[in-house]
Amino acid sequence: MKLNYLFPNKYKKVGWLILIPSVITLILEFEPNSLDFNVPAIFIDELFGDKHFFGIVKNNILNEILGALILLSSLLVAFSKEESEDEYISKIRLESLVWAVYFNYAVLLISFLFIFDFAFLWVMLFNMFTILLFFIIRFNWQIYKLKKFAHYEK
């Protein structure tokens, strides 16, 4: 009954505070040379070379850091409890999650059929984050509507 896999309410704010600057930095697309490192890799597919498992590659690690921060912080934003998380909020949460999954795959299906070659790389890139993004937008919109339009009655 009490088990719900959610983070405490205060982590929602923490999530937003990490998510917004991370997204802005990612959009600015700068790669400072000071962050070029040789890093271990699980799978390597060189542009004009072999494919092989395990090795070392030279890579700018800024987008890895930002990607990880965006992933973790959007999980916090999505799955931290509301201030008054009760069973009705849980129902809205579940419905929003189902809606987000459907919507995400609808967008992906359309992209599959009408976006080709290298352009599809962008689709895959965005699709890593969109399921959570769609959920966050939908769920918060529903909660906003609920708070705004639940008229007060004596």
């Binding site: 009760d86 069973e87 009705y88 909020i89 129902k91 609920l146 009655e153």
Partner: protein, 68 residues
């Protein structure tokens, strides 16, 4: 499902906000139940019955559409 939460609330002379505190849910949840937009869990139904000091079946009633 029909419910008489609003009527019971009037009898007790308490607001939606008061009832929300007593039942440990948000005011929006009380509002949604009164409007028939949300069917509460068994636990919340029992809490409401205890708050109003009546039987659960005195607050909630099945409708024809609940059998679909």
């Amino acid at each position: 499902m029909k419910n008489s939460i609003k009527v019971e609330r009037a009898k007790k002379n308490i607001t939606q906000a008061d009832l929300a505190i007593l039942a440990k849910v948000s005011r929006q949840t009380i509002n949604a139940m009164e409007l028939g937009k949300y069917v509460p869990s068994t636990v919340l139904s029992l809490r409401l019955a205890q708050i109003f000091e009546v039987e659960v079946s005195q607050i909630f009633a099945l409708e024809e559409s609940d059998w679909d």
